[in-house]
């Protein structure tokens, strides 16, 4: 923890992340207007005192939409990781612990999934399932668990040969207790690191999906979708895509800095 705090970039990143979470939680109080409120008298306005970041092509307040967009990004970032961990960690742990044929089959499957270009598969799944937040969780979860399963498997493989595990087994500990109490707690570090890097990846995936129009259902605002729609009018109304672009860039950089910090603090060898 102290090592993490000494890393200034990581601290800055962490602060931005906390701020984004607060914005996402209190979006209802922070947003000056509801994100669906249209004002057809004032379309595509540049930033002014009433509309701090201007209005979009339907006369909706850009600032309010960006605030609600933070909610979508954070939800996807965390939610998708929950799905990934719940799927990937048990599969990897069981595969590594049992070994033998189970391991062989699971590893083959993981290898095939790994060979598929990730984003290509997510887009395929999303365009088939249709847009929507739940479907984004499913699509990212279905493709994302592979990496973490691999990592967990490698960890379990290394740890299960240690003497203390043998000791616990000699004392009569069963499969569940051995894995849950003795092996997994010691295998957590790389998983935590993988999750901190997985969050920005999920946020990126959502933004990318919404950008091409298969992510979040309108009118729910998403930064990626705002950039996607705004870039069509970039020549006349630059503010439509610039502000959400900045939001995505800042979020991604914060998570990257924070993730680097966490990795260096937990395991300096990994660097």
């Amino acid at each position: 923890m102290r090592r993490l705090l000494r890393n200034r970039l990581a601290v800055a990143g962490g602060c931005v992340i906390v701020l984004l979470c607060l914005i996402a939680i209190f979006a209802d109080f922070l947003a000056p207007l509801p994100y669906t409120k249209t004002n057809f008298a004032r379309l595509n306005e540049t930033p002014s005192r009433t509309y701090l970041l201007g209005t979009d092509q339907l006369g909706r307040d850009l600032l309010s939409r960006m605030i609600y967009g933070a909610r979508v990004s954070m939800l996807v970032g965390l939610g998708a990781q929950v799905v990934i961990v719940l799927l990937g960690v048990p599969i990897g742990a069981v595969s590594g612990y049992l070994g033998g044929r189970t391991d062989l089959i699971l590893t083959r499957f993981v290898d095939v999934m790994y060979a598929f270009p990730r984003l290509l598969f997510v887009i395929l799944v999303m365009s088939m399932l249709g847009a929507g937040l739940t479907n984004i969780f499913i699509a990212i979860g279905l493709t994302g668990w592979v990496g973490i399963a691999r990592q967990t498997r490698a960890q379990v493989l290394a740890i299960k040969e240690k003497e203390y595990v043998d000791g616990a087994r000699a004392l009569g500990a069963g499969f569940g207790r051995l894995l849950g109490r003795h092996i997994m707690p010691n295998a957590l570090t790389p998983i935590v690191v993988a999750v901190t890097f997985g969050i920005p990846e999920a946020i990126f995936t959502e933004a990318a999906l919404s950008f091409i129009g298969v992510g979040i259902n309108p009118p729910t605002p998403s930064w990626g979708q705002m950039v996607g729609e705004g870039q069509q009018y970039i020549r006349s109304y630059w503010h439509l895509c610039v502000f959400p672009s900045i939001a995505i860039a800042v979020t991604m950089l914060s998570f990257t800095f924070f993730g680097d910090g966490v990795r260096d603090a937990l395991d300096p060898k990994l660097k």
Binding site: P117, R118, L124, Q231, I234, A249, T256
Partner: protein, 308 residues
């Protein structure tokens, strides 16, 4: 070596077949059909018309038969007619758009390798000085920020603030600059980071010390002794790099209005243009698989220590 190369080549067709099967199943397992009305809420076609169309396109047969027909035709390079662009065959569309994507991708990759290596070398040679910070921050931005966001910033900076390049199109080499840069920044960042790390390791190696001890200057030491050895791990990155450039092109092509294949990828999926989806996924898949194979073989040639 020959044995290894041969077995890798023989593994290509089964891999592609598996990829085709997965895509095919995902495509057919989900609700919605190409016979659905294009616009939401529009009147559906009459049942007879739907039946006729299904028969015409072979959609009324059992799934395994459809798949078998697809494979036997695809092997001969025939992907059928596009469902959306009804007058054109998938092959025509690909023949027209793939070269554009290929050109864009190769230019981006070349820029990424050259730029990334230069940034990495500068960073390692001037460790913890100005150049290092500059190249590390550039690399971080390139890696962390999605390419469609970079593209927006590039357009603002180099089309509006300083009107050097057009905002899109593909007519002249001047149009090529911004999409290439937008696509190259992410892989460039990865290469720069990796080169820096692997250079720093080699710079401290004993043989580098020996090279300096016998009186070699900085330039021959860096280029002849350090870079040659530091370059090997970088080659392994080229595989994922191709994937990054390939998938990145969907976004960059649509922002800069590049008439490449990436655009069709999304269009065909949302339009449930089955023949087009299969063709595009397989083209990307095959391309990536072949490139990965090439990278692995080059790796073996570069580093004689590696035995297959």
């Amino acid at each position: 070596m020959l044995h290894y190369a041969l077995s890798r080549v023989l593994w290509l067709p089964p891999t592609l077949l598996a990829m085709a099967l997965v895509t095919f199943l995902v495509m057919h397992a989900t609700p919605g059909s190409p016979l659905d009305p294009v616009a939401e809420g529009a009147n559906p076609l009459s049942p007879e018309a739907q039946r006729n169309l299904a028969k015409y396109y072979g959609l009324d047969r059992p799934l395994h038969e459809q798949f078998a027909i697809f494979v036997s035709k695809a092997v001969r390079g025939d992907f059928g007619n596009s469902f959306v662009y009804k007058t054109r065959t998938v092959r025509e569309i690909l023949a027209e758009t793939f070269p554009v994507s290929l050109l864009l991708g190769s230019m981006a990759l070349a820029l990424a390798v050259v730029g990334g290596l230069m940034l990495g070398i500068l960073a390692a040679v001037y460790q913890n000085k100005g150049w290092d910070y500059l190249s590390v921050s550039l690399a971080t931005v390139g890696v962390a920020v999605p390419n469609f966001v970079l593209a927006v910033f590039l357009i603002i900076l180099f089309s509006f603030v300083v009107p050097l390049f057009p905002t899109g199109g593909w007519e002249s080499p001047r149009n090529w600059v911004l999409p290439t840069v937008a696509l190259a920044l992410a892989p460039m960042g990865i290469i720069a980071r990796f080169t820096r790390a692997s250079m720093l390791e080699v710079i401290r190696a004993d043989y580098t010390l020996t090279a300096r001890a016998k009186g070699l200057g900085e330039v021959p030491v860096v280029f002849k002794h350090v870079l040659k050895n530091a370059f090997i791990p970088v080659v392994t990155l080229l595989g994922p790099m191709f994937a990054a450039v390939g998938t990145g092109s969907f976004f960059v092509e649509s922002i800069f209005r590049v008439p490449g294949m990436g655009r069709f990828f999304v269009l065909s999926m949302t339009g449930r243009d089955y023949p087009m989806i299969m063709a595009v996924v397989l083209t990307y898949g095959a391309f990536l698989a072949v490139m990965n194979l090439a990278v692995d073989l080059i790796y073996g040639v570069l580093d004689p220590r590696i035995r297959f």
